[in-house]
Structure formats: structure tokens, C-alpha cells
């Protein structure tokens, strides 16, 4: 999956990367700013605690309910 994401994938070679460009990238960018490096190192998934899970679900239910309220308001206005 990681290999599939290569910023260079799917296009043709248009020019060589010069030594200057390579040096410029390596010195000016922090290591994890380089696209290919970022793609090799994804942030690991974290385990959610019960409280966090509860909060996620509570806010999700809140959002669904409130969207229902908006739809209801639109419906009553149209009527």
C-alpha cells in the first residue's frame, strides 16, 4: 500500500534531478518533510480509551440529531 503511493507514480520522466536539487532538498527540508519518507512512516494507530470512545459516539449522535433538526426546520419552512 505504501509503495503504491509514490508522488512520482503514474507519470513520465521529464528531467533528471540534478545534484544541486538533491542537495537542496536534503539540506533545506526536515527528513519527515520529504514526500517519500512521509509515506514510509505513517503515524501508528492509537487505542481509544472507553471515555474517548464514549465521547466520539456522543458527539456523533449529537451531530446526527442536530442535522435532523435542521432538516425538520427546512421541511416546516417549505410547508
Amino acid at each position: 500500500m505504501v509503495k503504491e503511493f509514490n508522488a512520482a507514480a503514474g507519470a513520465e520522466v521529464s528531467a533528471e534531478v540534478s545534484r544541486e536539487e538533491f542537495t537542496s532538498v536534503m539540506t533545506a527540508l526536515e527528513p519527515d518533510q520529504i514526500v517519500s519518507t512521509k509515506e514510509h512512516h505513517h503515524c501508528p494507530r492509537r487505542r481509544l480509551t472507553r471515555t474517548e470512545m464514549l465521547l466520539f459516539w456522543a458527539l456523533r449522535i449529537y451531530l446526527v440529531f442536530m442535522v435532523g433538526v435542521v432538516v425538520y426546520q427546512i421541511w416546516t419552512s417549505v410547508r
Binding site: 503511493f5 503514474g10 507519470a11 534531478v17 538533491f22 527540508l29 517519500s36 451531530l63 433538526v69 419552512s77
Partner: protein, 480 residues
Amino acid sequence: MKETKTASEPRGLTIPRSNALNEDALNDQRKPGSDVVITHEDIDRAHDRERVSEMRAQHGFRPRLRLFWLLIGPGILVMLGENDGPSMVSYAATGARFGIGFFVPFIALTFLMACVVQEMTVRLGAATHRGHAELIFDRFGPFWGWFSMIDLMVGNFLTLVTEFIAIRAGLGFFGVRPAVAVLGALLVLSVALMTHRYWTWERIILGAAMFNLMFVPVALMTHPHWGTVGRALVTGRPLPGGLTQETVLVLLADIGATVTPWMLFFQQSAIADKGLTTRDIRFGRVDTVLGAALATVAALATMLATAPLFMHHMSAANFEAAEFAQALQPFVGHWGAALFALGIFEAGMVAAITISTSSAYAFGEVARRPHSLNLPFKQGRAFYLVLLVEAAAAAGLVLIPGIPLVYIVLLVNVIAVLAMPPALLFLYMLVNDREIMGALVSPLWANVLALGVVIVLIGAGLLFGVSVIAPNALALVGGK
């Protein structure tokens, strides 16, 4: 592992670890034997960072000023971008319907909330160099990631529709036909992308965003009574007419005009795309506060500009964006009205660009496709297509005649407020995640402020729910 350059690499050089030209400079964290692929995107970003390093190495006022110029952008763009079509119409409707008494300090307060929220994205973007959607997917998994993406995409699309309504309405004042206005806006959006360079794109949009301040001269033309404005700002006044269904809707619309989910995604991704690092966080904060200050001035000016409609007891219920300009003509003259209409057009145009860009960033991050404004079209095809297709679909919808603009824009802002608490929970957890933030986790004061914003937003949402489902119950919380 790629060992050689292949035909599928555009301007890319794959360097096996053993053959690296500058092996010492390579990141030790990389897996042994893994490759570094230098892309066009990396080269462009490196050039930008070289200029930053050059300025940072110099001393004196001018280099500092130049450094500031190089590092600002995402904060101003996100704040002025959020002063979009629906927001300006919300402020105009507020001024025309309620005057300035209560709402001058209220709107200033909403921008303070925006600062609190956006500051977190500055730290997150600079510390991780990753976009918001990518971090949510990586840290919380696809289940919650997709929820957050659906919230973003639906909200962005609805907002984009209203941006094109604003564009149509603003140019409509000058007699431009809706189809021409909308197609012209799509053309401008596409031309801005043709730079294929984040820096150039950012400067163009920053320049355009400054026209948001066009509402200031219009406000001055109405000769506001500054003593009253100052008193309103400092003392605050009771909500005119008390708490009613209408005032709750306007309150929420004004909050939604400053704090919305797309802003989180846009600023963090833009900071990663610009290449800001932890050393730049201070500038990122100044950038955000400056943007909020400019946006507050433009928002208050819009309200002041339409306040004469309130003072002359004119009903704003049926005003659409360009009609506000027409209604103002007796007070500010033709030029003032024209500036107001241009301001509405500009607000819609800049926001259409920034909001569609935030969708494209999020899509690229989640679909693991290249996502940068530094990409040539060929390499960033999916990124640019998402951006353009979303904008084109929203633009197409706007050409449907008879859309009730004011009502739709108020509701879009309300939806933005309702979607904020879940989005803020993700942000809050990410910015307190020591594993990715290290020493840059939020200090206590920032967490207290952030929780305060969440409580205000949830409270406002629930108040709106009560006002719709049981309007009479508003009396229990001091309403009528």
C-alpha cells in the same frame, strides 16, 4: 524496493540507500534499505525553505520583515477565506435586522474563538508536517476517519454552493448574467491553480483576499457614530428583541461565519504544504492572529455598513446579497453600493478557492494520492480534479433559479456550527497526543480555552435545537 529510476517517475530520482549522494543527510529514522524519492514537490518546497533559512540567518529589521513575509499566509488565508459569501451575508443580515448593539462584541468574540482553534492547527501542522485528514485516519483509524471526511465533504460542498450564490449575486449587481458569473469564477479558480506552485498560489489568493476589506470604505460612507460603536464594543448590549427563533438562527449563523471544520483541514494542510516547521510556529501564530484581526475588521465593517437599514426600519427578510447593495444605495451612493457588491463577489471567490482546496487536500491525504499545490497537473491529477469537479458541481447547482439565498446561507453556517464539536474533539485529542506532538502538546491554558469553545458551540447548537423543536421553551432560558 525501487532500485532504479523508472519511466513512471516524473522528475523523480530514486536513490537506494547504498547509493545516496549525501547519505549523511538522510534521515536515520528511515527503514534500513528504504529509498528516498525526490519529487518535484520536494524540490519546490526546498526552494521555499532555503529562502526562509537565508532570511533567518540575517539580523536586522528588514530581514525579519522579509522572513515574516515569507512565513505568513495560511492564517490570513483561512481567516479571510472564512469571511466568505454566507458569512458576509450573515453579517449584513445581522446589521440590517438588529443593528450593532449586541453583535459588535459578539462577532469580535467569535474571532477570538477562531484564533484559539486555528492556533492548534498551526502547532499540529508544523510538528507533524501532515494534513488533518491524514492524521485522523492514521491515529483513529478509518472508521472515525470516514465520519470526519463525510462531515467535511458534505459541509464543504454545501458551503461551496453558497459561495457561487454569492458570486452570482455580487456580479448580478453589475448586470452580469448568472451563467457568465459562475463560469467566470470557475475560470479564475482554474487559472490560480495553473501556477503549480504553492508559494505563487498563496500570494495570488492573499492579494485577492485583501479585497475583503472593501467593506471598510462602505462602512465609512454610512458615517457611523463611532462613540456608539465604541460603547457597543466595550460594554455590550442585550440581545435586541430577546431570545427568539430568529435571533438564535442569526447567533448561530454568525458563529458559523467564523468557526468551521474546513478551516481546520485547510490551515493544517496548507502549513504542511508550505513546509513550516516547529521553528516557524511563532510566525504561524502571528499569521493567524493577523488574519483574525483583518477578518474581524471586515466583518464589523459589513455589519456597520448595513446598520442604516436597521435604523431606517427596513426589512432585511427578503434581501439577497446584491439586494443588500441595492438597498444601501440611498445611504452610500452608487459607488458604495458597487463596492459592497464587489465585496460579496470577492468573499465568494476567495472562499470557493480555499474551500475546494481543503477538500482536495483531505481527499489526497485519505486516498494516499499526491496532494500539493506544488504538483504539476500530471502528477497531481486526482488532487486537481477533485478540486475542480467539486467546484464545478457546486457552480452548476447555483444556476437553478429561485434559490432563497439568505435562508440557505444562514442554514449552511448553522450546519457548520453543528459539525464543529466532533471536529474539535479530533483536533483536541491530536494536539494533546504526546506521541506525535512531543513537547508541543497543548498547555493547560490552551486546553481550557479549547474546551470553552467546544462548550459554547454545543450550547449554541442545543439552543438552536430547542428553538426549532420547542420554540416556547426559549422562554425558560430568558427568551420570548
